[in-house]
Amino acid sequence: MLYVILALEVLLVVEAFGDLGIAMAGGAMAFLGALYIWATRHKFGENLIPLEREEMPWLYDGIAELAEKANVPMPKVYLLDDYIPNAYSFGNTIVLSLGLFEVLDKDEIIAVAAHELGHIKNRDTKWFPMVTYGRCLMMITTLALLIAGSVPVKGAATVLYIAYELARSDFMKKREFLADETALRLLKIPMSLKRALEELKYYEDLRMNVKVNAVPSIEPGIEREKRFAFFTETHPSYEERILRITFEMNNLMRMKQVR
């Protein structure tokens, strides 16, 4: 769906601007391609610390075991010097913030790593940058069409942009759920993923000042910047993920019983 929308956008640009449109679309794609190459080579921040096996054998071996089970190469693992619990992946790399180690136990951290490994196995770490660069392309071309296009072209550009945002949001959310499903199949203790998400949800709630009466000292100073996403939200809520994981775990248990 995303590719169809992108193709329609390029056609619209060519239709609206002729040869100049071809040059614009080509130029924008070349620029984004160069940006992709640059970004993949300059990804590491100063706060990333490579994980050596001797430092945390339980984590290194746990991820190695998951990788073997998932039939993917052992990913590079980095620790991020950030007190807020967080994890992400890119390429064949998993990043875990040190904040995770303060709020989760070992099984739960392995579960978070399994979710990220799920992204790697499902090739999301390749797809997600493409989708993001596609979004940049849509922004550039839509802006050009809105400035210089005719009224029908402006309308079509707006519709295509909204369609892309909706499709992107839907795609990203589905991939998050899929990474959870993959993790559940990889984990020895699938329940640990649910527990990890529950604790992270609690952390987020506390952070977002929901439980202000329980802990009166939580003030906006500790808040992370809240990204206002509107209809472009790319991550499902913790509640949605926990609910789906519960269903999926029930399914897995039933399948085991049938066998």
């Binding site: 984590l59 007190y83 100073g221």
Partner: protein, 121 residues
């Protein structure tokens, strides 16, 4: 750390810090250096329902207030954050008293002088 409010009805450092933060600081002044996990184990004895997330958030809040400092340590069990005190309890109390008296002298100079001279006698 500069206290910005003083609760007349609270005892000790709870007058200038929220209750859980005050309890964490009382413990930290005793042990001087600890991980969030160690503080969690201590706090759990008095508050069985408390969660690790709560302790982590509060300890980082205390870092923001300048009462604790956080550093990365490579120890047994791997890399982790270690928190240490930035000021002794005595220094902290002196700062509180100084800040309050400064505020009183600025806002109620005559009355503060009169009261302090009465205490002195």
């Amino acid at each position: 750390m500069e206290p910005h409010e003083f609760k007349l009805t609270e005892e000790g450092i709870k007058a200038v810090l929220p209750p859980l933060e005050a309890e964490i600081m009382e413990h930290m002044w005793k042990v001087k250096v600890a991980t969030a996990g160690q503080v969690y184990e201590y706090m759990k004895q008095k508050h069985p329902e408390i969660r690790r997330s709560t302790i982590s958030i509060l300890m980082n809040r205390l870092c923001e207030k300048g009462l604790l400092q956080r550093s990365v340590e490579k120890g047994r069990g791997g890399m982790r954050y270690v928190y240490s005190i930035t000021t002794t309890r005595e220094e902290f109390e002196q700062k509180v008293v100084q800040r309050i008296l400064d505020a009183l002298m600025t806002n109620f100079r005559e009355a503060t002088y009169a009261y302090l001279s009465r205490i002195k006698k």
